[in-house]
Amino acid sequence: MPELSSGQRVGRESGRFLRCCGLTTTPPSPCVQPCCRPLCYEQSERRLHKSLQMKMEEMSLSGLDNSKLEAIAQEIYADLVEDSCLGFCFEVHRAVKCGYFFLDDTDPDSMKDFEIVDQPGLDIFGQVFNQWKSKECVCPNCSRSIAASRFAPHLEKCLGMGRNSSRIANRRIANSNNMNKSESDQEDNDDINDNDWSYGSEKKAKKRKSDKNPNSPRRSKSLKHKNGELSNSDPFKYNNSTGISYETLGPEELRSLLTTQCGVISEHTKKMCTRSLRCPQHTDEQRRTVRIYFLGPSAVLPEVESSLDNDSFDMTDSQALISRLQWDGSSDLSPSDSGSSKTSENQGWGLGTNSSESRKTKKKKSHLSLVGTASGLGSNKKKKPKPPAPPTPSIYDDIN
C-alpha cells in the first residue's frame, strides 16, 4: 500500500468516499483538523483477503498453481491502488473545482509561533517562570484596579466577608454619621491593611494619619471584649463600637489601658481611642490631658518604645521612625489641626510662626536629617507645665 500522509482521504467504493477507520472519540469541531487517518493496514488486508476469497470462489481451486494465485493477488492489489489513487485525484479535482484547494497552504512562519517549547526553566510558550507579578484586574464590585495576586483578599473585604471587614465597616458607619468630609478617606482604609498593596505611593502620605487600625490584632486584645460582640464571631453582624466606653472601666483597668493605648476621648462618640500611644490622630498633649483627667495631676505619659508597627505599609524603618518623630514634634502641622488649635498651641510656646516655618522646611529637606527635628522635640517638652485643660471642642474638630 502506498504511504499516505494524514489529511488525505482515500479510496472510493461504489460511489462513496471511504473514510479511514472512522473511530474518533470526539466529533471533530471546525477548529480541529478532521480526523482522517490513512486506510489502515488491517482494513486493507481484510479487503484484500475478501477479494481473494471471492475470486477463488469464482474459479475452482483445484486447477490453480502458485503463479496463477500470484497473478490474482497482483490484480487485486492493482485494483486497490488504482482505487485509492483515483479517490485522491477526485479529491483534488473537487477541491480545485469548488475553489478551496488553496486552503491547504499554510503559513509556516506563523505556525512556528505556536510550537510547544520544552526546555528547562521555560514554560511551553518559551516564557520564563514567575514574571507575572504585575498582572492587574478590575474588581467587579468596586471597579478598582487590583493586583491580580491580591485579588482574592481584596474581594473578600470588598464583599464584606473578611475578618476585619465588619469592624472597618462599623468604623465607616460611625464616622460617616458624624463627618461627611472624611468619608472618602475612610473608604480606602480597607486596603491599607493589605500587605504589598500596590497603590500609588503618593497616596500613602495622605493616609498616614489614619493608618493605624484601632482594632488590628496587635492592639491590646484584652480590651476588645469590651467593645461589644467579637467581630470574629459572625462576619455579617456589625460591631457597633469603635472605641472604648470609659464609663464602664474601673480605675485599674483605666490605668492599664492608658499605659498601652492612646486613650484620647473622641468628642462625638465619647469613647477612648484604642490606638497606640503614638497614634497620629491625637497629640501627646491630648493624651497627657486625658491621663491627668482620669488619673490625677501626677499622671505621666508613658514612655513609648520605638518598636514600630508596620502592618500597614511597607516603608523603610528609618522613614517610619522619622515620620513618627515628625508627628510627635509637629502637632500644629498635622492635617487634622484646625486654625484654632494652631493658635492655642502657638500661644503656649510663644514661638508662633517661626517654629512652624522651621518645621516646614525640615519636611522639605531629605528625610535623613534628624538634627532638625530635635528642636521640635525639645520644644515639645516645654509643654509639660501647662495646666491641664479639659478637652475642648476646638481640638477635636477635624480629628476624626
Partner: protein, 438 residues
C-alpha cells in the same frame, strides 16, 4: 460538453440526505452503533465534515497566514494566575476546560443563556473562559470574574483561604447545573428530576445501592445520581482492606506490585458487599421484619466523565491528617466489573475480569489528574492535563510545562478524571430507561 467531472450542490445535498436516511435505518437495526456522536437526539447521521461556504472561502482567501493546528501546538493550553490561595480553583478549571466533550460543547457555542441577568451566569463565564484558554494567548489568564461569581453563587466557599479542590468541583458543577436552564435538549416535561443539561449529560452517573435482607433475600434497590466517586484509602480509620495475598493481578493493566494499592483495589473495596451488623437492622420490605442485611454499591449508569476522589484528608475524632499513600492508577480503565450488571459474580467475592471482548462501552481514558502537595492545613494544588493522546502537561497556576506519562502516573493523585472512550447514541429505548431510573 467539457467531459469533465462536475460537482453540483443540489445533487450532492440529495445524496447526503439519502445517505443519512440509509444510516438511520442501519443504526436502529444493529445493536452496536458504528459511529460515535454526542447524545443529542435526531443526529442519526454520519458526522458531516466541515465544508467551506462561499463567503468563508473569500474571507480565507484574504488571509494567507493560515495555520493548521497540529498536536505540537500550544493552542488549548494557557496558564491561570493565582489570585491568592486560588490554586484549587485553577486546577479544577484546567481539568474542566480539557474535558473533551465539554470543550466541544462550549467551543461550538451551544450555551443559550436564560438567566435573568447574564453577567451573573456561571455558564456564560465558563464559555468565555473556554474562549480565553483556547485563544492561543501565551500570557496567563486572570480568572477574577470566575472567582467573583463562584463566591456569589456558592457562599460557603467564599473567603480568602485555602480550600479543597474536590469541594470546589462539586460546588462549581452544582452552580453550572443550576444555570444551564436554557440548554436542556428535549426537556422531559413530566419528570422534573431528569435534567438534561450538559452537566448532567456528562457528569451524572447512577450509583445503585442494594440492600439484601439476610432472611428472605429480598433486595431493595435505590439509585442515586452522583457526580463523583469518593474512595477510602488504606490506612484511614474507616478502612477495611481485605488484602488477600496472591490475588489476581493486572486488572486494567496496572502494574501490580505487591504492597502498592491500585485504583482498581479501591474500586473493588467500594463495590464490595458489606455486611451491616446486628446493630443496624433494617426493616425488610418483603418479609416485614427487622433483619440483618448486606449492602452493596455498584454503578448503575456510568457517566461520560468519571471523577474519582481519594479521601486523603481525614477529619476523624482522633486526628486530622493527610494520607499520603501512593495509589497507582492506570491510563485506561474498564469499569465493567463495577457495574450493577456484574454484581452476581461479585457476591461470591470473585472479581469478574474484563475480557477483551470488543465491548468498549465501559472503557475510560485518563485525561486529568489533580495533585495536592503539603499538609492538611496548608498546601498547593497542581494538575496534569492530557492535551493530546500521550501528550501531558503540568499546570502549576501560571506556568505550563511539558510532562511525561511517567510523571503523571507517579504522582500521588487526589482527583482523577476519566473520559469514556466510546460515546453512544442515546436511542429512544435507553432514554426511556433513564427517565424511569431516576
Amino acid at each position: 460538453m467539457c467531459k469533465d467531472y462536475v460537482y453540483d450542490k443540489d445533487i450532492e445535498q440529495i445524496a447526503k440526505e439519502e445517505q443519512g436516511e440509509a444510516l438511520k435505518l442501519q443504526a436502529s437495526t444493529s445493536t452496536e452503533v458504528s459511529h460515535q456522536q454526542c447524545s443529542v437526539p435526531g443526529l442519526g447521521e454520519k458526522f458531516p465534515t466541515w465544508e467551506t461556504t462561499k463567503p468563508e472561502l473569500e474571507l480565507l482567501g484574504h488571509n494567507p497566514r493560515r495555520r493548521r493546528i497540529t498536536s505540537s501546538f500550544t493552542i488549548g493550553l494557557r496558564g491561570l494566575i493565582n489570585l491568592g490561595n486560588t490554586c484549587f480553583m485553577n486546577c479544577i478549571v484546567q481539568a474542566l476546560t480539557h474535558t473533551p466533550i465539554l470543550r466541544d460543547f462550549f467551543l461550538s457555542d451551544r450555551h443559550r443563556c436564560e438567566m435573568p441577568s447574564p453577567e451573573l451566569c456561571l455558564v456564560c463565564e465558563m464559555s468565555s473562559l473556554f474562549r480565553e484558554l483556547y485563544s492561543g494567548n501565551p500570557s496567563p489568564h486572570v480568572p477574577y470574574k470566575l472567582l467573583h461569581l463562584v463566591w456569589i453563587h456558592a457562599r460557603h466557599l467564599a473567603g480568602y483561604r485555602q480550600q479543597d479542590a474536590h469541594e470546589f468541583l462539586i460546588a462549581a458543577l452544582d452552580v453550572l447545573h443550576r444555570h444551564c436552564k436554557g440548554d436542556e435538549v428535549g426537556k422531559a416535561a413530566n419528570n422534573p428530576n431528569h435534567c438534561n443539561c450538559i452537566i448532567d449529560q456528562i457528569f451524572t452517573g447512577g450509583l445503585q445501592s442494594d440492600v439484601t435482607c439476610q432472611a428472605c433475600h429480598g433486595v431493595s434497590t435505590t439509585i442515586d445520581p452522583c457526580w463523583d466517586i469518593s474512595l477510602d484509602l488504606p490506612g484511614s480509620c474507616t478502612s477495611f482492606w481485605p488484602m488477600s495475598p496472591g490475588r489476581e493481578s493486572s486488572v486494567n493493566g496496572e502494574s501490580h506490585i505487591p504492597g502498592i494499592t491500585t485504583l482498581t483495589d479501591c474500586l473493588r473495596r467500594f463495590t464490595r458487599p458489606e455486611h451491616l451488623g446486628s446493630s443496624a437492622k433494617i426493616k425488610c420490605g418483603s418479609c416485614q421484619s427487622y433483619q440483618e442485611s448486606t449492602k452493596q454499591l455498584t454503578m448503575n449508569k456510568l457517566p461520560v466523565v468519571a471523577c474519582f476522589h481519594f479521601k486523603r484528608f481525614e477529619h476523624s475524632a482522633k486526628q486530622r491528617r493527610k494520607i499520603t499513600t501512593y495509589i497507582s492508577f492506570p491510563l485506561e480503565l474498564d469499569m465493567t466489573p463495577f457495574m450493577a450488571s456484574s454484581k452476581e459474580s461479585r457476591m461470591n467475592g470473585q472479581l469478574q475480569l474484563p475480557t477483551n471482548s470488543g465491548n468498549n462501552e465501559n472503557k475510560y481514558s485518563l485525561f486529568a489528574v489533580v495533585n495536592h502537595q503539603g499538609t492538611l492545613e496548608s498546601g498547593h494544588y497542581t494538575s496534569f492535563i492530557r492535551h493530546h493522546k500521550d501528550q501531558w502537561f503540568k499546570c502549576d497556576d501560571a506556568v505550563i510545562t511539558k510532562a511525561s506519562i511517567k510523571d503523571v502516573l507517579d504522582s500521588e493523585g487526589y482527583l482523577l478524571f476519566y473520559h469514556k472512550q466510546v460515546l453512544e447514541h442515546e436511542s429512544e429505548k435507553v432514554k426511556e430507561m433513564n427517565t424511569q431510573a431516576y
